[in-house]
Symmetry: C2
């Protein structure tokens, strides 16, 4: 439907005029008789997501933007909203990939720009992950006694990171779509605990088989299986909680990118692994 | 502008009729005199991205869809296109997070559904990463001689994975936007080689400092620094090439998710690290 917004002399919004109605009425009808009053409008100070959601929910082609005194300032149309939503999706994608949004096409991005956009994340993740060295050093006695434990480090922390990435992506997406919020934290964690346990149990069986195939013996294989179950549970739980808490303290949860959660569960996963080994192998 | 498509008795598309033009012309004018011929249309068999791009590029509100004989079948409107583009962006986000698209809201997703959508990726990544165990086993003599080498495994493969994730995300995004294609592979690799070297050189300095702080001695610290430079270069190059080659052999490059590239560079990064150690420490 094609329509125009009608205002009075002081630019107060009176309503909308449908062109179909105009077309079908006698040429002499005053415009004021054809106006349909509209209560839908957004304040200029409202968040752009409010406007986007109003438009999408009510399936409108446009909504008027007004100031505090209901003076018409302009309109927002559906294609503006699509651009906004697409832009935000694109930024989420870039952030999930662990880079700041480029803001220019990749082919036009200069070398210094690419380095500048990517380095802060790499440094942050390096610093966040640097404690893994301390963790490994703390367990060097265990490591020296059973070098075979080292074989599974990449696989264990990789699986923990992958489960964490999945959870973070699903939760951040749901938050962006307004499906979940902080008040849902209890059932989200409960859901992810069960998903983590189910995924971890399956991965434990496979990891045990892989360890036996590598010929490291049943003892170390059992440690690997128990550790992967515990790490899966832990990763899913941490990854479910973190975006909600960050939102709570005012940080955009899209920045809890997959690489960041990976780094966070790397070191804690190592502690779980070596503590499991210490107990089960009596090191 | 509000307009209607006009067809003849056999549903051949004749053109478009603007409602403004109808409004402004005398009531007795035959419709046929007011039609503007249109050459813009899409075949029903065309890819939905073709329609989306036509609409976006020409800033249209709708385009007609025709069969092979130019009979009008229906129209695609701008809000359909926004939905299509947003849906694809959402799927890309979920894939980059290493999960198959859920297709239902997270809060409605059952436990079995979540496990079913997430397990295939975890298994694939586990199997793809299982060779890291073999790699580590192959270097167990070096590891036993210098246990300190193990301290940096999570940090080194983490950094390699992070750089690979960044590159994959940027390239997949550029491909989705039509900015780069397979013919661009040479300059993309050249660009990523330089970015990888620049990032790697900075990370090498920081990694050297971290290793010295951990007290592992200058020799091992130098190995860590050289390895992180080589791994950065390698990860950026592999991650730049893979999406383009996958597209070439007909696989959606969005499936080269960040976790997959991480897993791929994990094991090769370990080879680089231990080979560097073998040469530099004369193990």
């Amino acid at each position: 439907m094609s329509y125009v917004y009608v205002i009075d002399e002081e630019r107060h919004l009176l309503g909308v005029l449908s062109l179909y109605r105009l077309l079908l009425s006698p040429p002499t009808t005053p415009v004021v008789d054809l106006i349909a009053p509209t209560t839908i409008r957004v304040r200029a100070t409202a968040d752009r997501e409010v406007a986007a959601r109003l438009l999408t929910d009510r399936n409108l082609l446009a909504i008027p933007v007004v100031d505090d005194d209901d003076h018409l300032l302009g309109i927002i149309t559906e294609d503006d909203v699509a651009d906004v939503l697409l832009e935000e999706a694109a930024e989420d994608i870039e952030r999930l990939g662990g880079s700041q949004p480029l803001e220019v096409p990749y082919r036009l991005a200069s070398l210094p720009l690419l380095v500048r956009k990517r380095l802060p994340w790499l440094l942050l993740l390096f610093v966040a992950g640097a404690y893994t060295g301390t963790v490994m050093q703390a367990f060097q006695a265990e490591l020296a006694q059973a070098v075979a434990l080292a074989f599974f480090i990449p696989l264990l922390i990789g699986t923990g990171g992958n489960i964490g990435s999945q959870t973070v992506t699903l939760i951040v997406r749901s938050m962006a779509l307004g499906e979940v919020a902080l008040r849902d934290i209890a059932w989200i964690i409960w859901k992810e605990i069960r998903v983590g346990l189910a995924l971890g149990a399956i991965m434990a069986v496979i990891a045990f088989g892989r360890a036996v195939l590598l010929g490291v013996g049943n003892d170390v294989s059992a440690v690997v299986a128990v550790a992967i179950l515990a790490i899966s549970l832990w990763s899913a739980t941490v990854a479910a909680t973190l975006p909600l808490i960050l939102r709570r303290i005012g940080i955009d949860p899209a920045v809890v990118s997959a690489p960041l959660i990976t780094t966070l569960v790397d070191g804690t996963g190592l502690v779980i692994y070596f503590e499991t080994a210490r107990v089960m192998l009596a090191l």
